[in-house]
Amino acid sequence: MIANIINLSRDKDASAAAVQAGKNLSSEGKGHVTIEDVSVVFGAGADAHTAVESTQLEVHPGEFLCILGPSGCGKSTLLNSVAGFVQPSSGTVAVDGVPVTGPGPERGMVFQQYSLMPWKTVRDNVAFGPLLAGQSKSEAQSIAYTFLNMVGLTRFAKHYPAELSGGMQQRVGIARALANYPSVLLMDEPFGALDAQTRLMMQENLLRIWEDFGTTVMFVTHDVDEAVFLADRVVIMSAAPGRIIDDFRVDIPRPRTTDITTDDTYIQLKRRCMDRIRSESLRAFEQQNH
């Protein structure tokens, strides 16, 4: 019992340090994403398929941006071009002025599928990034505990991912991405596979962490509620070819809780998203019929 209390207080200090480190990152103005005239074409010749068409997007340091759109509209492709998994066919992607040429730890990624290493314990999954960055084993582990504490999973540090629920695994995924102190956190429908109640809890949890940590977030989703609830700013993408058709700010004060879902601004913005997506879907539908 006493050991537990001591542990807790040590964790508290450590997490305060992590939060400070995160704040330092954003106060330095890091996490500035510029997407200039980016097109992504898959395949060639007659099979060529334009996933993203001449897209322009600037994400400001510390901003929480949601990319909203129907499935298959190229929003994940756009995110993957920032992550470095996809090379744009034309245009450039840069983070803090450095062109993206491949994946890197300064751009933390949280995937839709469960992507923890099943053979590493929860702690070792989170410690993996710091270890690769050249930290000693004990340093990496103490960083891991800091971030596990942040997502409330210290108790499961020595468990294997398969012993955790889906929501817990995604929280570990977030801790793992943050353990590298990324300037941008890229999230590709991270809560898509979770049930509605868990998703709500995860969203609130994510906002708390982000408000403390202050890193730039690019969050891809097809869920209108999720986008408006989380974001400072929402961009809406249309399908075939994928491009941005709307871009607006969400001026709802923080910290936000689920109570804001009855707020007038919230409802107006939600309607705006739905109208936009609906008219785009209709347009796409008519195109198919011609």
Partner: protein, 316 residues
């Protein structure tokens, strides 16, 4: 920042409020089932606990049941064999000249009392050990390379496809010609037996590395070597360990062919020699020794590799 995680608070609260129910609430006391098992030990359970890792009472019961069925099945087989030899069964299959289990047992007991029998066994086990270990080293290496590089696959797999179906016996002349000593020819043949299953299983496992895990590792800053070490190899481990167990079996399978070359010792030589001398009970003793030792070594391989897969067994 909400610094105290709700999970920890809840667990601490539960422990304080309900000291008796703490066992259910606190994951720290997960060893409860084992202590219960120790309290009410029946001989069967004790055997099961000695044989394997400490298990829950339910698992012990299932384990004991499974093994009693296995032993009964074997006993029934031996009884049928005894019966067929006793009545000189001859209807399409002929048992007239087959030694009865009793005769085989008598021969076995006689051998067990001679030192030579143990030399046969020790020599064979040493050959298997060297051949198998070499196959493990080379097989895992080649398998991983084949699984991850298209060029390597195109270069190596034609050899594997052509060499794999060749039975061990067919290698005897070439093995004698190729290798400097008799001993090395025998080891080479057991090595070949283990090699192919290990290569193929390892390659299969390495091919199936989940793409999302490779991408996750890349975005955490892993380079090619680190991805190989932290992602590809662990992801292939279930396949590799399966290959290791199969390879051990095939190694014993090839032993007799290898030891035909040998002029003195080895349990395969023992069997082959009994064949030359028309000593039927000894042939069966040799056959069963190969079968038994093969089974034991395969089991040993499974036991030895089990800790590598602990992350799999602990899934919900």
């Amino acid at each position: 920042m909400n610094a105290s995680p709700p999970d920890t608070q809840a667990a601490a609260g539960a422990a304080q409020a309900a000291p008796e129910g703490a066992a259910e609430a606190m994951p720290e006391t997960v060893n409860t089932p084992e202590t219960e098992a120790e309290k009410a030990v029946t001989p069967r359970e004790a055997i099961a606990v000695l044989l394997g890792a400490a298990m829950k009472p339910k698992a012990v019961k299932a384990f004991a049941k499974s093994w009693s069925i296995r032993l009964t099945a074997l006993a029934v087989g031996v009884l049928i064999w005894q019966w067929a030899t006793a009545i000189n069964f001859n209807y399409f299959i002929n048992f007239e000249n087959i030694p009865s289990p009793v005769k085989v047992w008598t021969a076995f007991v006689a051998h067990v009392q001679s030192t030579e029998f143990y030399i046969h066994i020790a020599v064979s086990m040493q050959r298997i050990f060297i051949g198998y270990m070499s196959a493990v080293g080379l097989g895992i290496l080649l398998g991983l390379v084949i699984g991850r590089s298209r060029l390597a696959r195109d270069v190596i797999s034609p050899y594997i496809e052509i060499l794999r179906p060749i039975p061990a016996v067919a290698w005897i002349p070439l093995a004698i010609l190729m290798w400097p000593t008799e001993e090395s020819s025998i080891i080479y043949i057991t090595f070949l037996g283990a090699l192919f299953p290990i290569i193929l299983n390892t390659a299969h496992g390495a091919e199936l590395t989940p793409d999302v895990l490779i991408r996750a590792a890349k975005s955490l800053g892993a380079n090619r070597r680190e991805i190989f070490w932290h992602v590809v190899i662990p992801a292939a481990l279930p396949s590799i360990t399966a290959g290791l167990a199969i390879g051990m079996g095939v190694s014993w399978f090839s032993l007799l062919a290898g030891e035909i070359i040998s002029g003195q010792y080895g349990i395969g030589y023992f069997t082959w020699n009994a064949y030359s001398l028309i000593n039927y009970p000894d042939i069966v003793v040799g056959m069963l020794m190969i079968g038994g030792l093969g089974t034991l070594s395969t089991y040993a391989v499974r036991l030895a590799t089990r800790p590598l897969l602990s992350w799999q067994r602990r899934s919900r």
